[in-house]
């Protein structure tokens, strides 16, 4: 607790919550306080600052390494020769760099098929959910539609519906209408996971865009549609990018929906595909697994580097792929 009573005038203690300091303020002088000043306060401000900074830096460095090292290890292991991949005492920096795993991955495995499926599905999800969320978010803030609040709450509520619980009914329904093992089926399924959140995000975003901007465009002669196209849409760009990144993250990393809805090996995506092809039969082909993981890691690395501010904006409202 604080011992900086020498800084306080009488009465200030009462302004604060928490235990006040039982020091007789009437008679106390600076000299009396000497003994109660902790070692910390004997240090010069500069030294205190130095210690504080060091603790901060050590903490940050520790957390950063804890996150960074596993990723780096996975990436570097992907370029190690087979012998180095599963060795007892690996060197930190690969002694020999090889692309053999990547060559195998792309020319001698089903990975290209999985990658193609993932790219198709991801593109579909990003396009569908971003478009719908942007338009829907705009409509819900700008047009007086009956029951729109109820609708928006209902949508957000389904966000709590976990993927596996959504996947089971979808499997039942999709198999009835022949959408199992189709790209469209998986696109819709993942969109179901992305849409509630992205709609909510865009709705919030448009609430913060003053309507007077569009009204002013209307006064300038623009129709409502033009006001939407020329004013609201460009201003919403950061929100749209955030929503698109979220959709990408959901779709690119999807495992659960694909596991349930894509049962044909030719329709697997990278996550389920790596598991199905390279983990098969107890004999794990670590070189291919790591190479596949490395490929899957490229877009996240790019996004986090180039589009950090947008995606942090999206995440800070609570999106979780």
């Amino acid at each position: 607790m604080s011992h900086e009573v020498d800084r306080e005038g009488p009465g200030h203690g009462a302004d604060r919550e928490g235990p006040s300091h039982e020091v007789d303020r009437e008679e106390a002088t600076i000299m009396d306080y000497r003994g109660s000043i902790p070692v910390w306060r004997h240090l010069r401000y500069r030294h205190r600052r130095l210690i504080r900074r060091s603790i901060l830096y050590v903490g940050i460095a520790f957390v950063t390494l804890l996150i960074l090292l596993p990723v780096l290890w996975m990436l570097t292991s992907a370029v190690r020769p087979v012998g180095d991949v599963i060795t007892r005492n690996p060197s930190l920096v690969p002694s020999t760099v090889t692309v053999e795993h990547f060559a195998d991955l792309f020319f001698d495995s089903r990975f290209p098929i999985y990658l193609r499926n993932t790219v198709i599905v991801t593109a579909g999800v990003v396009l569908l959910s971003t478009t719908c969320a942007t338009l829907g978010g705009y409509g819900l803030t700008r047009i007086d539609v009956p029951y729109k609040r109820t609708f928006a709450r209902g949508v957000l509520f389904t966000y709590m519906f976990p993927p596996i619980l959504l996947a089971i009914p979808m499997y039942i329904l999709w198999s009835n209408i022949g959408m199992i093992n189709t790209h469209l089926g998986l696109i819709l399924a993942i969109t179901a996971r992305v849409l509630p959140f992205s709609l909510w995000l865009m709705w919030k975003f448009f609430l913060n865009v003053p309507y007077s901007l569009e009204e002013s465009a209307q006064m300038a002669g623009a129709t409502r549609f033009q006001a939407f196209k020329d004013i609201a849409l460009p201003i919403a760009k950061p929100g749209i990018i955030a929503v698109a990144i979220l959709a990408f993250a959901f779709a690119w990393g999807d495992y659960t929906m694909a596991l349930v809805l894509m049962t044909d090996l030719d329709m697997f995506v990278i996550t389920t595909g790596i598991e199905a092809s390279f983990f098969a039969g107890g004999q794990i082909d670590w070189g291919l697994v790591l190479a596949g993981c490395a490929v899957a890691l490229i877009p996240p690395l790019l996004f986090v580097y180039f589009l950090q501010k947008y995606y942090v904006h999206g995440m800070s409202a609570g999106g979780a792929p």
């Binding site: 940050i60 596993p70 599963i86 519906f161 619980l165 349930v260 979780a320 792929p321």
Partner: protein, 315 residues
């Protein structure tokens, strides 16, 4: 005034008519709200209702016939199935441990990030990176790195003298679920960090300055200014995170499946097995509905018992 008619070429006039057409209220609703409503009905409302209907039937994957059984599925899982109840307990344990780790680590990291330091852009990029990494990829990487014979994690710990010998992290029935929770936290702590960090950034620095002038020390400033400001966001994050972790499937399924001696057979894995290994879709639907009702009831109770501030209520 500019005489629009004479200046305007035909194509412009046509385009303007199109804009006018689209600007009608009916059309605006049609192209903004309607797609979302339709999509929502097709991919969310409909499957969920379908599942509710299915839960009253006996359905098998390769038999197109649905057999009406009424409440039988529910009665079975509520009263006759100890596995279901045990799986619920495992789910709750997993969620509790996960959320505890996320909130403590996530808040701590957010507080660190709230300072200024060199390379901040790079550091925050790294700290937020796990969130974009596919959970399955994390699972594969962890399987590699925590392998009991050659995993780097094991050998590093042995070399540092922390462990005597290597161990199979996911082989011990008593701890497997919690090891998975810890591994999963590598990714999901960032959810708390990002949300808390956003809130921290929005606390006006004047509040801290005022407190400083009044003589509050660092701990008192944290207790009296930071914490009260974080209450709302922590409330929300605990709710969301609990729900997600309660239903977490992918990482557990990849790392341990049902686990050594069924020690990681949480509810959703059980539901998955019932659906796709026993191919009892009606039963799986009933479990899904039950889980959703249980978690929904829990969430509502949490919401109304703790009475959050207005700001965290969903609009």
């Amino acid at each position: 005034m500019i005489d629009v008619e004479t200046v305007m070429p035909i194509s412009r006039a046509r385009r303007d008519r199109l804009y006018e057409f689209l600007s009608q209220r009916r059309m605006m609703i049609g192209f903004t709200v309607l797609p979302v409503v339709l999509l929502f009905t097709l991919i969310l409302a409909f499957p969920i209702l379908w599942a509710v209907a299915a839960s009253f039937h006996d359905i098998h994957a390769f038999d197109p016939e649905w057999h009406w059984v009424g409440l039988e599925n529910y009665v079975h899982y509520l009263f006759d199935d100890r596995v279901f109840w045990h799986s619920l307990w495992l789910s709750a344990s997993f969620a509790a441990v996960s959320v505890a780790i996320h909130v403590v680590v996530g808040t701590a990291v957010a507080l660190l990030l709230n300072h200024t330091f060199p390379f901040k852009k790079f550091v925050s990029a790294v700290l937020f990176l796990p969130f974009l990494i596919p959970t399955a990829i994390l699972g594969f990487g962890i399987t590699y790195m925590m392998n009991s014979t050659f995993g780097i994690v094991n050998w590093t710990l042995v070399d540092l003298g922390i462990m005597e010998t290597t161990r199979g992290w996911f082989g011990n029935p008593d701890t497997a679920l919690y090891v998975v929770a810890a591994v999963n936290s590598w990714k999901f702590y960032a959810l708390v960090t990002i949300m808390v960090y956003a809130r921290l950034q929005s606390i006006p620095s004047e509040h801290y300055e005022t407190a400083k002038i009044m003589g509050a020390n660092a701990w008192e400033r944290f207790r009296d200014i930071t914490l009260p400001n974080l209450k709302g966001v922590l409330f929300l994050v605990v709710l969301l995170d609990t729900i997600w972790m309660f239903f977490k499937f992918d990482i557990i399924w990849i790392l341990t499946g049902e686990g050594p001696s069924y020690s990681t057979r949480i509810s959703v894995i059980y539901a998955y097995q019932v659906a796709f290994q026993r191919t009892a879709l009606g039963d799986a639907a009933a479990i899904s509905v039950l889980l959703f009702v249980i978690v929904g009831a829990g969430a509502l109770t949490y919401f109304y018992v703790l009475e959050p501030a207005e700001e965290v209520r969903a609009e």
